[in-house]
């Protein structure tokens, strides 16, 4: 509790409080990170750093993830910034374009580790050729399927679906098992879960979603409509649990491990979770497909770590970035926790070798995309934004899909134009 009291308020009480206030640890670096992301991973990374750097420990503060963007903006506008910021990677361009982050290009240009760092993370950390951040952790989406339910439904557990039509066909069979089992899962109230798991279905089908800037046309390609039609039909056919409609993301990660869902798009984090939840469940992992067999895609998500303008500890922050990308951290922290390594050349390690599922998921990195836009939250991630509204209308209404798409386009363009 550090109380910075102005000379203007010297009431007796304020003085008293200042006396009992603990002095701030001057040598700690302050770092902000969004809560609810991959807290366990970030905690472990910071703990590993603190063990090695007792004289310049990092003090971590989690900000509720819905408030991360305004919190960062307020901090920057007021000059009261932390020394380091972990942020959802898709918000990178917004802050880079506004000139609010420290340009680290010259300090890191000789690092060999950057050559193999996750491409999507590097792309959103770059603005007009200058670099502003490095990967903090990576998540990729893939298709998880329940082999036990495949067997029960008479499907080959070694042949996951390779197209949307096959997903539909298999889902129908699994749903037909009855009871509380459904073939697929589509989250109805979670914008982030949908861009992570439904977005790739559209990309794989050759479509684009978000506009890069004010001049870019959003939602291009037939894939958008094809995927929406497919999703609408899936829900109409009863292949999705009814309460999926209210899925805000709070229980998304628990769905697959419940053992009641045949297939669903989710992320690599679900490997460890599903095992904890349901140790006896046999499941497999494939790439998220498109309309045609052979089309695949994935969303590379996660966080980047950046330095806000006004940070007084730039060199220490750069050292932390170096530490994150080092071979030892990649293997002994990331891989050991069965998390994606943030460098492509580090996937061949002893921990991944012992866990084939992680290797399967790691294949997604090669086909993964990361949206690059200055208005990601408002366009895509906001529960109140046009992306989720479009999906909800497609999933649960009967309005003509062309109408829904053109209205979503108009909304997205209006947001991008501001």
């Amino acid at each position: 509790m550090s109380l910075q009291l102005s000379t203007r308020c010297r009431s007796a009480l304020a003085g008293l409080l200042a006396m009992v206030a603990l002095p701030a640890m001057a040598e700690d670096l302050q770092m902000w990170e969004r809560s609810g992301g991959n807290a366990g991973m970030v905690d472990a990374l910071v703990a590993a750093w603190n063990e090695k750097n007792p004289d310049r420990k990092i003090n971590l503060t989690y900000i509720p993830h819905t408030e991360m963007v305004p919190k960062i903006a307020q901090a920057i506008a007021s000059g009261e910034v932390p020394d380091l910021m972990g942020m959802d990677l898709i918000y990178g361009p917004q802050f880079e374009a506004a000139g609010q982050l420290v340009d680290i290009t010259d300090k890191v240009k000789d690092w060999p580790e950057l050559k193999t760092a996750v491409q999507g993370h590097m792309a959103v950390s770059t603005y007009e050729g200058r670099l502003y951040g490095v990967p903090l952790y990576a998540d990729v989406s893939a298709l998880f399927y329940n082999k036990d339910l495949f067997r029960k439904a008479g499907l080959d557990p070694e042949k996951p679906p390779t197209s949307l039509a096959e997903i539909r066909e298999y889902a129908d069979k699994i749903t037909a098992l009855g009871g509380d089992v459904k073939g697929y899962f589509l989250p109805g109230s979670c914008a982030g879960c949908n861009i992570f798991t439904v977005g790739p279905l559209m990309w794989a089908s050759g479509a684009t979603i978000e506009p890069r800037d004010a001049n870019d046309e959003p939602l291009q390609g037939d894939g958008v409509k094809e995927v929406l039609q497919w999703a609408r039909d899936m829900i109409k056919a009863g292949n999705v649990h009814e309460d999926a409609r209210a899925e805000t993301g709070e229980t998304f990660h628990l769905r697959f491990g419940s053992g009641k869902i045949g297939m669903m798009g989710t992320g690599n984090f679900n490997i460890t979770l599903a095992k904890e939840q349901n140790p006896s469940m046999d499941f497999g992992i494939a790439l998220l497909p498109g309309v045609k067999s052979g089309q695949v895609s994935s969303f590379a998500g996660g966080d980047i770590v950046t330095i806000p303008n006004g940070s007084k500890r730039i060199d220490d922050a750069i050292d932390f970035m170096k530490f994150l990308l080092s071979d030892e951290t990649q293997v002994e922290v990331y891989a050991k926790m069965l998390n994606m390594t943030t460098r492509g050349d580090m996937t061949d390690n002893k921990y991944f070798q012992a866990e084939p599922k992680v290797q399967q998921v790691a294949k997604a990195i090669a086909v993964a995309e990361t949206p690059y836009t200055l208005k990601f939250f408002e366009l895509i991630n906001s529960p109140q934004g046009p992306w989720l509204q479009m999906l909800q209308r497609a999933y649960y209404e009967d309005t003509d899909l062309d109408t829904i798409i053109s209205e979503a386009k108009a909304q997205m363009k209006a947001i991008a134009a501001e």
């Binding site: 305004p70 409609r245 408002e378």
Partner: protein, 291 residues
């Protein structure tokens, strides 16, 4: 009284509060008015756009959706709160142990925070984990669990109203009880002699003599409902499709996550204006009932 002393003495007593309000309410409010004339994202330079934000609000379908929803919520919840609060007040007005105890219990939720109570009800209404679906299923009222939040705007609104009625009905009850106690005893006695029935006496004596309090509680409740935010932020998050996003919710969205501070400020001024009009109407009503 102190009427002989100079008016400055009175002003001196009010000065600290006035200075505080001028610094921490009026000054930010003036800044907000100034912000509303700009396009400002916090992380980029401000741009003066005159009344552009107000024009934008007029043309923004979400602004109207939110306003309509806020009014709907206010119009639905206010009578429920008033009638229930008054009935419980009539039930517990007499100072006897069980009734006093009931009064205390009804008031108890008023003292817990809106955030805590909203989270509590969010859990009770939860599809899988909530006791409400479980209890309704066990009682045979519903055949399968209901998706309370996120699917149907009206169902979500109903659920929110239930939680808020539980939370604040006691506030009205306590004030109504006080008003009933303040009715001079002789009036009731006289009516008793007339042989009027209980409900006749409530209608002819109790209600008219507590009208001022009813108006006051209505006003507080209406202002509170027009400014509703926490319960929707926590329970519905505006879902489905922003149909349950109240006006303040929209203000919050623009002022915080969307970083459209000017637009958020303009929306706030419009809402404050609407509340001011409602308050003045109530005051006029109150004056008339007084006469």
């Amino acid at each position: 009284m102190h009427s002989k002393t100079s008016s400055y003495v009175g002003l001196l007593y009010v000065a600290p509060a006035l200075a505080f309000v001028l610094t921490f309410t009026v000054y930010p409010l003036v800044q907000m008015v100034w912000m509303s004339l700009h396009n400002w994202s916090l992380i980029a330079a401000k741009k003066f756009i005159g009344f552009g934000n107000f024009v934008k609000a007029w043309n923004d379908p979400q602004f109207w959706t939110s306003l309509e929803f806020t009014l709907k919520y206010t119009i639905l919840i206010t009578p429920v709160l008033m009638v229930l609060g008054y009935l419980i007040a009539l039930l517990t007005a007499e100072n006897r142990p069980l009734r006093q105890f009931t009064r205390s219990v009804v008031f108890a939720p008023v003292v817990i925070g809106l955030g805590a109570s909203s989270l509590l009800w969010y859990w009770l209404f939860s599809y899988d984990f909530g006791l409400i679906n479980r209890a309704l299923m066990d009682l045979g009222v519903i055949a399968k669990p209901v998706v309370w939040f996120g699917a149907d705007a009206d169902i979500a609104l109903g659920a929110v109203i239930v939680s808020i009625v539980w939370k604040v009905v006691g506030f009205g009850t306590i004030l109504f009880v006080a008003a009933i106690h303040a009715i001079p005893g002789e009036i009731g006695e006289a009516a008793m002699v007339d042989g009027a029935s209980y409900w006749q006496r409530v209608r002819r004596i109790t209600l008219p003599l507590t009208a001022k309090t009813i108006l006051l509680v209505t006003l507080v409740s209406v202002i509170g409902s027009l400014l509703a935010f926490d319960q929707f932020y926590i329970m519905t998050a505006g879902q489905p499709r922003n149909l349950t996003a109240t006006s303040v919710f929209l203000i919050y969205l623009n002022s915080f996550p969307y970083l459209k501070l000017g637009y958020g400020a303009a929306l706030s001024l419009i809402l404050a204006g609407i509340i001011l009009v409602c308050t003045c109407l109530q005051m006029l009503l109150s004056r008339r009932s007084h006469a």
